[in-house]
Symmetry: C2
Subunit: 133 residues, 2 copies
């Protein structure tokens, strides 16, 4: 599987590392060189320095042949813009993004984007803990 | 249940709002006044402006009678320090904290702190999505 990941955040790096270790073809795009230090030293994927809402950068990352695109920067806005751009411009079967703001996650989810909202997921975990025992 | 929440972050505000709506006694501590805007307008709990690693502030929040303490600032360091402080100084039955860094989450988990690591949880969600269909 060919996967393009935008954002070498903690989650981005963890997913990239896992996918690469399972012999997938991974390209990680980040606008800050320093972010790539989160990847393990033996990471075999591609690291691309640049903006993820920039078509030439996405093309360089291989978006035209990608099976999946993950928008995982720490900015909801960037993730939403990038996912919309990829959805409109490229034929990528799986597109998913992270949106922290629960209201925007719901709104853009209803507009057809596949969204993971860490806020809701993590709040649920805390509720489960409080209800336990 | 009496709950003290440190950090009116997105998750902190969501859990506080939920607990308060279920008639629990909730105190939210944050060092920035502006953070309290994340709480709903009808929030019935207490908002306390101050540092969560400060014993007088925790006392003001009612930590001595608390059934649970949740450390939910956006800083791993603050959450770890606050949870350790509460664990050592007060008799709170349930203490749980958020730690983004997976390595530190593991290390402090092994030291006996109850930790939720959003990074690992959210990365798992992305993996599930990629494996689906």
């Amino acid at each position: 599987m060919k996967v393009v990941i935008l954002g070498c955040s903690l989650v981005g790096a963890m997913v990239a590392s896992w996918l690469s270790s399972e012999k997938n073809q991974v390209s990680v795009v980040d606008s800050k060189e320093n972010s790539f230090h989160r990847l393990p030293k033996d990471f075999e994927g591609e690291k691309i320095l640049g903006m993820g809402i920039d078509v030439p950068i996405l093309t360089q990352a291989g978006i035209e042949k990608a099976d999946a695109f993950l928008a995982l920067t720490n900015s909801d806005n960037t993730n939403i813009m990038a996912a919309q751009l990829v959805k409109q411009r490229f034929n990528v079967p799986k597109i998913i993004l992270r949106v922290y703001d629960p209201q925007r996650a719901r709104a853009f989810g209803e507009m057809g984007l596949e969204i993971i909202c860490p806020t809701t997921i993590v709040a649920e975990k805390f509720k489960e803990f409080l209800k336990s025992k």
